[in-house]
Symmetry: C2
Subunit: 257 residues, 2 copies
DNA sequence: CGTCAAGAAAGTGTCGACACTATTGCGTTC
DNA sequence: GAACGCAATAGTGTCGACACTTTCTTGACG
């Protein structure tokens, strides 16, 4: 994604005081970031038509920057555009998720191999240090932090591959699957094998064992069909019945006690 | 790229009489296709700022659909957007090309492996038939046809992988490197090893020899640094000095005779 | 009840105008 | 010549209005 907008969505804008840093050409970018967040988190439901007029009102800008943002998000896979009917939120389906996870696995294992070939020792050490800095507290962090740290780990590998296209691809995939990954991390069955596999991946990196590391990554990333379906159930519950979802959880807890 | 615009850019619109099929919501799509073609072919020079007003005049539409198209093309890697300064044509550089070729190699070899796992015999036969239908005339076709047939061959492999994300990714990469690939095909040093490698790839597919096929694909696709630099020289000549390029070719021919 | 047609309402696509920002051109000074 | 400042020009970002398309509502009919 070398043609990305210069202000970049994934590196995050600086959290400056808005009144001080308010520049022109802000509305489209603000719209983009806000709508993207809604889409990443499925705050807008799968298949839902996006209402530009409503968004325009709630963001306090005219429809033009909304449409500009939506056109960008269409090309990024978050929405689809049907002429004269509008923009529709991407679907949330087993097949779609499996495809994305598979693509992620392909990108990440290739990145790992390239990292082993190309990175110098101090660069590999960056990965080791990243993991060592967080390994002890990682399992006790809230899901959002776990997710961010996990993504950071994997993006660092992509960065160390020396191919910026891989970084861009992985970053884009991350955003599209973040919602389901967050749900997986929240799930009680989410085990601590993540720690073991991250540590093993780091070890393979230090040894520059490309094939073993790539294999570990694949195992770490790829999901079975049934696991995907289970995660999807939880995701759909969260999307379509957020209150009922909480109610169901309360009932499950009462029953289990 | 599951969020693609429904009319799709890569499958090509039907070549209908425009007065008959003129629908509403056409301007943005027309702008998109026209500008994209300009960008694929580097008719707009690397680094050049895109002038919306000029495009608006030459396409006979207002600036709004131009901007909508450009926002899509920004997210697709053809242009970059700098706020208040406009959209700029993607660069044409050795590193950038190597990165894209590498990504293409990663995607294609993974697709080949998945195809060998998943495709049934009739599907693998599609690939064989595709190649057999063109192999005899292939080397004598004009560069544009060779390029289209080659892309079709590789996209069919991606399709047979069963992962639409891979198809979308490969399609997108193809568009971004098409210009340089066309130049390579035109080059006198472009040899007929392409035929041998395509045939060998088909043979590996028929045998479902995933690893050998992936290796052949990688060798078929990946470029050395020096080959990339040579191709880039020709590309830059074509972009920045199209007339001088023709003049230089005439002089070379006179000198060689 | 279901189906259809017509009209109203809502939403989409594009337009041209305006405010703002960046670039260019020109004159002055050293 | 280079550097600077200012004004003019050109281009970008957004606005609200208008035309067009789609969706929704309502009434009539079988």
């Amino acid at each position: 994604m070398t043609g990305r907008v210069e202000t970049g969505a994934d590196s995050g804008p600086s959290v400056a005081n808005e009144a001080e840093t308010r520049r022109s050409a802000d509305s489209s970018e603000r719209a983009y970031l806000t709508i993207r967040k809604l889409l990443v988190e499925f705050k807008l439901k799968p298949g839902e038509r996006i209402n530009e007029v409503q968004l325009s009102r709630s963001l306090g800008v005219s429809r033009t920057p909304i449409r500009e943002a939506l056109n960008r998000l269409a090309s990024e896979g978050f929405v689809s555009l049907t002429p004269n009917r509008g923009f529709f939120v991407r679907s949330l389906s087993t097949e779609g998720l499996l495809d994305l996870y598979e693509l992620r696995s392909i990108i990440e294992s290739a990145a790992f191999r390239l990292m082993c070939e190309r990175a110098d020792d101090s660069e590999i050490d960056r990965l080791r240090q990243y993991w060592e800095a967080i390994v002890d507290v990682y399992p006790n962090q809230p899901p959002d932090i776990i997710l961010a740290e996990d993504e950071g780990f994997h993006l660092l590998i992509a960065e160390l591959s020396g191919n910026p296209e891989l970084v861009g691809q992985l970053s884009s995939i991350n955003a599209r699957i973040r919602f389901i990954r967050r749900i997986q991390i929240e799930h009680p069955s989410h085990d601590k094998a993540q720690i073991t596999s991250h540590s093993a991946i780091v070890e393979a990196a230090v040894k520059r064992d490309a094939e073993n590391g790539a294999k570990l990554l694949r195992e770490h990333i790829e999901m079975t069909v049934s696991a995907t379906q289970q995660a999807l159930k939880d995701a759909l519950l969260k999307v379509f019945a957020p209150d009922n979802g909480a109610e169901l959880k309360r009932r499950r807890r009462a029953r289990d006690a």
